[in-house]
Each structure stands twice: as structure tokens, then as C-alpha cells.
Symmetry: C2
Subunit: 149 residues, 2 copies
Amino acid sequence: MPAVPDQKRILERLAAAGLRPTRQRIGLSSLLFGSGHRHVTAEHLHGEALACGLRVSLATVYNALHQMTGAGMLREVVVEAGRFYFDTNTSAHHHFFHEESGLLTDVPGRAIHLEALLPPPPPGTRVKLVDVVIRLEKLPDEGQAVLQC
Amino acid sequence: MPAVPDQKRILERLAAAGLRPTRQRIGLSSLLFGSGHRHVTAEHLHGEALACGLRVSLATVYNALHQMTGAGMLREVVVEAGRFYFDTNTSAHHHFFHEESGLLTDVPGRAIHLEALLPPPPPGTRVKLVDVVIRLEKLPDEGQAVLQC
DNA sequence: ATAGCTGCAAATGCTTTGCAAGGCC
DNA sequence: GGCCTTGCAAAGCATTTGCAGCTAT
């Protein structure tokens, strides 16, 4: 796998956002944008960074996440009162939220174009974003794959 | 307006939920279910109660809101990280959220049946709830009602 | 009478902020 | 060198909890 091109891509990304390529921001960006799309909380990312040997404070993680959100590199997703989730996929899409585990995942497939189905916004306002969160719960029973009619 | 029948309806509602009709719960229920559907935060409801002369602590407001949510009288809506909103309309419907003012309103008209449009949940899980929040922002300019083609 | 509620204040959990020290251009 | 960043610790905010006293049945 091309580790150096990844590094370069991350530096370019930060430069494009007008953020200085500090050790902390490079490390966090690597974790966030290293492979595929991710959904993280500040605390989770902080723990991951420490586990990888990146010395960074929680406050800096919060700062970085908000700066990146402001720069359009991340999108904030509201699924739980009292917790911030950040999504590396900034395009229009929907989410599954597993309430028991706190896991947030993208809904596969192209986003349904809800805008066409939804009523127009009240006068004097404009639609900024449509959030769709599908809240999931575990099925009560798992071991009866045969018994259904 | 029939003030006494309202009172009776509220007492019945509390009884059905298995909650004792205390002065605080009756007062809060009156504010919540007195007329039409409402969207409140704990703090907002607390302020309203105090303004109406109901002596109640914020902690009791929180307790009551959660008890009522558990009893199915209210539904919790997550629109902002760090704040709980409660909705007296527990049926399936969607929301407009005015980010600048913090105002939450129901989307008029019958809810779109998203379930039919959405992909199936991952194996081992079941859809508990589908939340649709349409985030609104004020239109930048307000004073050109005539200039539109 | 007794089980359940309430109020207060303290505690919690997540997030933000202030300021001195350090790092990038 | 100057300005942006970081880290730490303290502050902030919304919510929850513990416990003594009160209340509905």
C-alpha cells in the first residue's frame, strides 16, 4: 500500500483547508481519512490516537474536529443528545444508528432524494440539510431462523 | 373553553401511565397537553411552569419528562447535540428545525412513508424509529417579495 | 402507614475556554 | 520573529443522582 502518497494527500487536504500541518492534525487526519469513511466521536478518536502513539490532548481533538468541520472535511451528525458524532463522508446520505452499541453507519446505496418528497420549507427559510437517522435495536431473539411461517 | 374536562382528561392520562397525579405532574401535563402539539426542552418547560406560578424544580421537570416519555406520552427528538427536545406528538412524523432560533416544528401533512423507500436494516436488527430532521436557515434577504420572476 | 415524589445541592459527563509554552512559516 | 497551535487545567452547561422531607393512596 502506498503509505507516502497517503501522507502527501493528507498534507494537501490540510493545506486546502488552510490548516497548518501540525503533528497532531496530520495524525488525526491519517486516522480519519486513511481508509474509507468513518464515524467517530471526539473521545473515540482521542483514544485511537493515543493507542497509535500520537500524543494529543482531548481538547486538541475537539478543536481539530471542529476546524475540519468548518472547512468542509467533516460533517457533524446529531444522533444522541449529549454527544457529537463526526462523519468523513460529507455528501448527502443517511445513517443507521445502533442505539445499544452507539455505532453509526452509512445507509448503503445512493441517498433517497427526499427533497423532492418533502413539503416546501416555511416562508423566509431555506433547507440547509436533511438528516435521516434510522434508529436500530437488536432483534430480541436470534436463534430461530427456521421457525418463521 | 372547557377547563374542567381538560383537567379530567389530564388526570386520566396520568393514571393510564401509572403516574401519581401530583401537583407538579398535573401542572406540567396541563402545559404540555393543554392545547395542540408542543415541542419543548426541559429548561423551557421549567421556565414556563415558574411563569405560571407552578412551584417545581428543574430536576422534577427532567424526571417528569422522562417518565412521560417512558410511558409513551411524549417522544424524544434529537436535533442538537447537548440538548433534549420532547414532542407531544408521538405519532410518526417529521420535523423542521430552525437552527438560529432553536425552534422545532412538525412538518405539516401526513408523514411520508419512508420505511418503504429505505433499505432494509442490517441482519440481526430491527428499525425502531426513523428520524427525519429538516434543518432550516433564514433566507439571507427578506425584502424582495416583488422581484421574483 | 407506606410507597412513591419532590426539592435541593452535589455530582457527572461531555465540551469549551484561558493562558503559558511550543511549533510552523 | 511572529503568529498560529497545543496542552493542561479550570470553567461551563445540560442532565442525573442521593437523600431527607413531603404527599397521594
